[in-house]
């Protein structure tokens, strides 16, 4: 099998491979076989994942197979809806067909969350520089993705905006860079500091309001095989007009919240316990409260400067 960039494949080939379910996306630790006949999904993929590595050939061994398709024949013509089918039973809510890209992204996330058992997965964004990694834990409305995207502009490398992927053997974080999902107001915020051409078209009327994606960077893909050692764990709290504030957290509390956010910690068992405890022995955890992106960046930079290299 050989590796090519998605943009090197002619559009007809991409279309054919996708309709046959043989577009093998090789990203970070996973190979996903993608399948769709939906033109909107195909366009989104071709654009946002253009620099990604594709395995070409008939004999791929894949971690996940994902089909994005109409829920059934009747609905395909009448209601024009679309669902993600990761090949195992999952109660998917069919979405309007124009939300196909959301379905693709959601389906890819579900594959990792529910079918990957070699690494412990926690719901968090991760960025890093030569010092090590910053884990930004997910909290409803906490602003994880906005902060992750903002840190990317500050010279940090993106490992993931959705998952902290902890290697059980090394306790290092693995990279699975994907387009960063932005919601509502944060779409405009990121368009301003990353440039409008770096952000996808806006999907309106999704279950989470408006959604757009920040484009994958070539540099993040090129370094995707480099793991990072976690040094700092942040629990962001966005509150309109709040004064910036930092509070040191008990590591035990941080551990508790990370475990509660993991879809596979329980399945992996003892190796996940060891890896998490080892990771936590080398980190500090903080809750940061802020009312705007500038404040959040200032807080993170201050904390990061205090961390030993």
């Amino acid at each position: 099998m050989k590796n090519v960039a998605l943009s090197d494949l002619p559009p007809e080939t991409v279309k054919r491979l996708l309709s046959e379910g043989r577009l093998y996306l090789h990203l970070g630790p996973y190979v996903t076989a993608l399948s769709t006949k939906d033109a909107g999904v195909r366009e989104f993929l071709t654009d946002m994942y253009q620099d990604c590595s594709i395995l070409v050939g008939e004999e791929a061994l894949v971690d996940f197979s994902l089909e994005v398709r109409a829920p059934n024949l009747v609905r395909r013509y009448i209601r024009r809806q679309i669902v993600a089918d990761p090949g195992f039973y999952f109660p998917a809510v069919p979405l309007p067909v124009k939300l196909g890209p959301l379905c693709l992204e959601m389906g890819m996330n579900l594959c990792v969350a529910l079918q990957s058992f070699r690494q412990a997965i926690f719901h968090a964004g991760v960025v890093s520089d030569q010092k090590g990694g910053i884990v930004i834990a997910a909290r409803s409305g906490g602003g994880k993705s906005t902060l992750t995207a903002a840190l990317m502009e500050e010279g940090f490398r993106l490992l993931s905006d959705e998952f902290a992927i902890l290697c059980a053997e090394t306790s290092f974080l693995l990279a699975y860079p994907r387009p960063v999902s932005l919601k509502n107001q944060s779409i405009d915020v990121v368009r301003v500091f990353a440039g409008a051409d770096q952000v996808s078209d806006r999907l309106t009327g999704t279950p989470k309001g408006d959604i757009a994606y920040r484009r994958l960077r070539k540099s993040d893909l090129e370094t995707a095989n480099l793991p990072a050692k976690a040094k700092l764990i942040l629990f962001p709290r966005f509150q309109a007009e709040a004064a910036p504030a930092v509070e040191k957290m008990d590591i035990a509390d941080a551990a508790m919240q990370l475990i509660a956010s993991s879809p596979n910690y329980q399945v992996i068992g003892e190796p996940a316990f060891h890896a998490l405890m080892q990771m936590l022995d080398g980190v500090e955890a903080y809750e940061i409260t802020y009312g705007n992106t500038e404040d959040s960046l200032m807080l993170v930079k201050d904390l990061w400067e205090a961390v030993d290299g």
Partner: protein, 342 residues
């Protein structure tokens, strides 16, 4: 050795796949054949079983996928084992003897059939007269009515017609336990002699839990798969039957049919033997007169065409319900289910 590409004939192809899956033949080294097989095993959720019997390979990608599947099946095994211990603890100090059924029994006995099973329910069998006390103790230990069947209609339906209590879900651990007092519903067309099977059951280690004798274990699996509607996961079910059959001695295999006749469960056992012969090349003589052609066809469609067989699925579903319930009762039940969903 010349590596054969995967056969185009669906029956041959599935037969080859089952040989790989059960370790009868080593995994193919041809990349295309390997990829076809692995993707079939992934779709059928049996990669965990494959991981348990496959020998180490130089193929790093393959090892990665097998390791992933093995971790997942180790979790199910751990869970089944722990829940089994919790049941033993809940009934500690009483005279109630519990027979572990299916997955929990295979895991308790460390059988190959217990590896890679992805089940979340634990099935146990107790004597009907022990039922009230067993239910009371399990409730004390934290198992409560499962929300979806806690309504009065389902509660009454289970207690009047079924072979088990309404499912109980542990309030903290969220696991489900099905407490059986018979192997099939009171209304089923066939009525296995579960008391004879219980009489032959033996303890696990030196504990209070029991498991069926090997022949009865195979027979119960056949009943469950072919008379109780478990063929929703055909690859997994057939592998289980194969492993259980494989664990029998020659004498035990020879006694299968007479035991099945004695227990009044000839038909599912014959279907099971027919399927083992068809897909694993197991050397048995099968009397096909008891197996309806329609049923054979629908099993073939389901196993050989995978999930692209909606009609076969409906047939098997109706059949398993038909086996469980007389027609008027069945219609009433399906009708109520339809209304409650709508």
């Amino acid at each position: 050795m010349v590596e054969m590409a995967t056969s185009e004939n669906p029956h041959e192809r599935v037969r080859q796949f089952f040989c790989f899956a059960s370790g009868l033949t080593p995994l193919p080294t041809d990349a295309k054949a390997l990829s076809d097989f692995v993707s079939w095993a992934q779709r059928g959720h049996i990669l965990g079983q494959v991981a348990a019997v496959a020998s180490a390979s130089d193929n790093k990608r393959l090892q990665t996928l097998l390791e992933n599947a093995a971790t997942r099946s180790a979790y199910d095994k751990r869970m089944l084992k722990f829940e089994t211990e919790r049941i033993e603890r809940a009934l500690l100090g009483t005279d109630i003897r519990v027979v572990l059924l299916k997955g929990s029994a295979y895991v308790a006995e460390d059988l190959l059939a217990g590896i890679g099973r992805r089940v979340s329910d634990i099935d146990i069998l107790v004597k009907e007269e022990d039922l009230p006390e067993a239910e009371k103790l399990l409730r004390q230990a934290g198992w409560k009515d499962e929300v979806s069947t806690a309504n009065p209609y389902d509660q009454k339906y289970y207690r009047d017609w079924m072979h088990e209590l309404p499912p109980l879900r542990h309030s903290k651990r969220r696991t489900i336990i099905d407490v059986h007092h018979r192997l099939l519903p009171r209304t089923a067309r066939i009525s296995p002699d579960h008391l004879a099977m219980m009489a032959d059951a033996s303890p696990v280690g030196d504990g209070n839990l029991l498991v069926f004798a090997p022949v009865d274990r195979f027979i119960h699996s056949a009943i469950h798969i072919f008379a109780d509607g478990a063929l929703e996961t055909p690859a997994r079910s057939l592998l289980e039957l194969f492993y259980l059959f494989n664990d029998l001695s020659v004498q035990e295999r020879d006694s299968l049919e007479s035991r099945a006749a004695f227990l009044n469960v000839m038909s599912p056992v014959q279907i099971a033997l027919w399927a083992l012969k068809r897909y694993f090349g197991v050397m048995v003589i099968v009397n096909k007169s008891n197996i309806s052609k329609v049923l054979r066809l629908s099993i073939e469609t389901m196993v050989e065409n995978g999930r692209a067989a909606p009609l076969a699925r409906v047939l098997l579903y109706v059949r398993s319900h038909y086996l469980r319930m007389p027609l008027p009762l069945l219609m009433a039940h399906l009708f109520r289910k339809a209304i409650r969903r709508g």
